[in-house]
C-alpha cells in the first residue's frame, strides 16, 4: 500500500515513527528536513501522485487547533478542528483537498501529544458553553487508524468532558477502536453519505454506501452517537428518487435515538479551487453541468441548492427532530 516513506530527521527516533514504519517493512525510506519541502513543491502533479501516494512522517509545530470555518457546525457556537493528517486514502472527485494541496502524499504528524495539549488549552480558554471539535477535516478520521492509532490515543482525551463534543468524520468501515471501546456519548461518528449510484461514480476507493450503512448500524447498536452527513448534496438526474431511497434506507437501518445529528450542505468551491480541480479532471462528468459563479464561489446556484435542501428536509420531517438537523454552508 505505501511503497515510500519520507521521514523528517527530527522524528526519526520518535516511538510513533518507529511503530508506523514497522507496519510497512518493504517500504523505502527517505530522510527529509521538513515535510513542506516535499509536500508543498509547486511542480507536483496531484493526479499522477494520487495513483501511488507516499507517506510523510512529520512533526507539526503550530496551528494544532483552529477555529472551524464559519457555517460549519452541529449546533454549538464554538467550533474548532484539528488535523493530525493531511490527505485521504480515498479519491472523491468533489473533495476540496485535491484543489487545496499540490501533493497527494499523506502527511501524518506523529506528535499527537502536542495536539492534545492544545485541545486542552482551547477547552480551558472557552470555559463557558458547549464546544465542538472536528476531526477529519483534512483527512478521513478512521480510514488510516490501523496505521496511525490516532483515535485510540485521542478518544480518552475527550472522555468525560461534558460540555465538549468531538465529531469524527469518515467514510471508512474500519471500525476499530470504536467497537472494542465503551461508547463515548460526546463522540459523534459522522458518516459522509450520498446515493449509492453517485458514490459509485464519485467516491473512488471509498467503501460503498451499503457498507457504510452497515458500519454505522453496528456502531449505533454498540451505542455510539451517529451523525449523518449529506455534504455535499449532489445534483444529478433523478436526484429526488436517489436521495429518497438513501434516506429511506438510513432511517430503516438506524434507531432514531442513535442519530445525534444530521447535516447537509451544497456543493460549493472557491473559484480558484474549482479551477484547480477542473484542470486535474477535465473529463469528469460531475463538472459538465453548468455551475454558477457568484462572489468568488462556484455552486449550483441558489435555486437548485434550495430545492435540494427543501427536499431533504421534507424527507426527514416528522421522522427526525428538526433540532438535530443542521445546514452546513462553509466554503471549505
Amino acid at each position: 500500500m505505501i511503497d515510500t516513506i519520507f521521514i523528517e530527521q527530527d522524528v526519526l527516533d520518535h516511538e510513533r515513527t518507529k511503530t508506523v514504519v514497522s507496519k510497512f517493512p518493504k517500504s523505502q525510506r527517505i530522510i527529509i528536513s521538513r515535510y513542506q519541502e516535499v509536500f508543498n513543491k509547486r511542480t507536483q502533479n496531484f493526479r499522477l501522485q494520487k495513483k501511488q501516494p507516499a507517506l510523510i512522517l512529520a512533526s507539526k509545530h503550530k496551528n494544532f487547533v483552529l477555529p472551524a470555518p464559519a457555517g460549519f457546525g452541529i449546533g454549538t457556537k464554538k467550533n474548532f478542528y484539528f488535523s493530525h493528517m493531511y490527505n485521504c486514502l480515498y479519491d472523491c472527485r468533489y473533495c476540496f483537498l485535491q484543489g487545496m494541496y499540490s501533493s497527494a502524499n499523506y502527511v501524518l504528524f506523529v506528535n499527537y501529544e502536542d495536539f492534545y495539549s492544545q485541545i486542552e488549552t482551547t477547552i480551558s480558554d472557552n470555559a463557558k458553553g458547549r464546544i465542538t471539535f472536528f476531526s477529519g477535516y483534512d483527512c478521513d478520521s478512521l480510514a488510516f487508524e490501523k496505521i496511525s492509532g490516532f483515535l485510540k490515543n485521542t478518544l480518552p482525551v475527550f472522555s468525560g468532558l461534558e460540555r465538549v463534543d468531538l465529531e469524527l468524520r469518515t467514510k471508512s468501515v474500519q471500525l476499530e477502536p470504536l467497537l472494542s471501546m465503551e461508547p463515548q456519548q460526546n463522540c459523534i461518528v459522522a458518516f459522509s453519505l450520498m446515493p449509492e449510484e453517485l458514490a459509485k461514480k464519485l467516491d473512488n476507493k471509498a467503501p460503498s454506501i451499503s457498507r457504510r450503512i452497515a458500519a454505522l448500524t453496528r456502531l449505533a447498536e454498540r451505542g455510539w452517537p451517529i451523525g449523518l452527513r449529506f455534504d455535499p448534496l449532489i445534483y444529478s438526474y433523478d436526484w429526488k428518487e436517489k436521495y429518497e431511497r438513501l434516506v429511506g434506507s438510513l432511517l430503516e437501518a438506524l434507531p432514531n435515538e442513535s442519530i445525534h445529528s444530521i447535516s447537509y450542505g451544497p456543493l460549493r468551491f472557491p473559484k480558484k479551487m474549482y479551477s484547480e480541480i477542473f484542470k486535474l479532471y477535465p473529463d469528469e462528468d460531475l463538472f459538465s453541468f453548468s455551475m454558477k459563479e457568484a462572489d468568488g464561489i462556484v455552486s449550483y446556484g441558489n435555486g437548485i441548492e434550495n430545492e435540494m435542501s427543501d427536499f431533504l428536509l421534507g424527507q426527514l420531517s416528522g421522522v427526525v427532530s428538526s433540532e438535530k438537523i443542521f445546514q452546513c454552508l462553509s466554503q471549505t
Binding site: 515510500t4 519541502e37 499522477l48 449532489i234 445534483y235 477542473f278 477535465p282 473529463d283 469528469e284 459538465s288
Partner: protein, 289 residues
C-alpha cells in the same frame, strides 16, 4: 539559435520521452535499444530521435550547467509539450557495490543541501529508490546510501518546470565505489553498465509511456477545438473558455460530432453560446452518460 524548429501541433510527431544524458557512452545503449537516429545537424548539442516511438535524446556533456542548458535547449527548440516525460540516466558513484546496479532517484540535493528536488513517479517494484547528491567536481569519497553525480539536480529542477515532478525521472547506474574507483571514464565500461540494465529500462519506458498517455489525454487540445480555432477568431479569454467548455461538452455528449453541434455557428461567440446551451442539460449521472 532556434532553427529547423519542428512543429508538434498538427504534425505527426508526438513526443513522449525526452532523454537528457551527459556522456555519449551513456547514451549509446539507449540510442541503440530505442532505435534513435541522429537528427538536427545544426543543433548545438547532439540530438537523436525516433519519430515512431516519440523519443528525443540530447547529449548534454558533464556538469549541471550543461545539463540545464541542454534540457532548456531541447525543450525550446522542439516545443516539447507539458505531458512529455523527461529522463536523465547515467552513471553515478556509490559507497558500496554491486557495480552496475540501477537505482531510481527519489531525492536529489546539492552538496550543501540548500537545493532539493523530489523527482519522479516511483517505480519501486522495478528498482530500489535512493537519494543523490549532485556535485560540482568529481569526488571519490562516497557516504553510505547516497549516489553521487554531476548533473541530476539541475536536470530535475528544470525538467519538472517544463513538465512536472512526476514525469521527471533520474535513473543512475553504479559505476564506481569507495573500493573500486574510476581513474578515468572508459566509454566501453560505461556502455556495458547501461547495456546490462536494458531489460529494466525497457520496462520503465513502458510504464513511463502510460503516464505520458494519461497526461496527454488531460492536457492536449482536441482536433475539434483546433479546427474551430482556425475557422473563427477567438480572443485569448474566449479560447480559454472554448477549451474548457469543449472538454465538459465532450464528456457530457461523447457521441455527438462537434461539427454537427456547431454546424450553424458563424462566429466564436456562436460556438461558445451553442456549447453553453447544450451544457445546461448536462446533468450528472444522466442515463446516457
Amino acid at each position: 539559435m532556434l532553427i529547423n524548429k519542428e512543429k508538434i501541433l498538427g504534425g505527426g510527431f508526438e513526443f513522449s520521452i525526452c532523454w537528457v544524458i551527459a556522456l555519449p557512452s551513456e547514451a549509446r545503449p539507449i540510442i541503440s535499444a530505442f532505435k534513435l537516429t541522429k537528427t538536427d545537424e545544426e543543433a548545438v548539442f547532439p540530438i537523436y530521435k525516433n519519430e515512431v516511438t516519440g523519443q528525443l535524446l540530447i547529449i548534454s556533456g558533464i556538469g549541471q550547467m550543461n545539463a540545464a542548458a541542454a534540457t532548456s535547449y531541447i525543450c525550446g527548440r522542439y516545443n516539447v509539450p507539458a505531458w512529455v516525460a523527461w529522463i536523465n540516466i547515467g552513471i553515478a558513484g556509490y559507497a558500496q557495490e554491486p557495480l552496475g546496479k540501477l537505482f531510481q532517484v527519489a531525492k536529489v540535493t546539492d552538496e550543501m543541501q540548500t537545493r532539493v528536488a523530489y523527482p519522479g513517479f516511483r517505480f519501486s517494484k522495478l528498482m530500489p529508490l535512493t537519494t543523490l547528491i549532485t556535485k560540482e567536481q568529481p569526488c571519490n569519497d562516497y557516504k553510505t546510501d547516497t549516489l553521487y553525480d554531476m548533473e541530476g539536480l539541475a536536470f530535475a529542477e528544470l525538467a519538472s518546470r517544463f513538465s512536472c515532478n512526476e514525469l521527471t525521472f533520474l535513473f543512475k547506474v553504479v559505476s564506481d565505489t569507495n573500493a573500486k574507483q574510476l581513474r578515468r571514464i572508459k566509454p566501453s565500461y560505461v556502455e556495458k553498465l547501461l547495456a546490462q540494465n536494458m531489460r529494466t529500462i525497457f520496462l520503465l519506458v513502458d510504464e513511463v509511456k502510460e503516464l505520458v498517455k494519461e497526461e496527454k489525454r488531460r492536457l492536449d487540445i482536441s482536433n475539434d477545438v483546433k479546427v474551430v480555432l482556425s475557422k473563427f477568431h477567438f480572443s485569448a479569454s474566449r479560447k480559454f473558455q472554448l477549451v474548457q467548455k469543449y472538454r465538459r461538452w465532450k464528456t457530457a455528449f461523447p457521441n455527438t460530432p462537434f461539427s454537427k453541434a456547431c454546424a450553424h455557428a458563424k462566429s466564436a461567440g456562436d460556438v461558445i453560446h451553442t456549447l453553453d446551451e447544450m451544457l445546461i442539460s448536462a446533468v450528472f449521472d444522466r442515463p446516457s452518460s
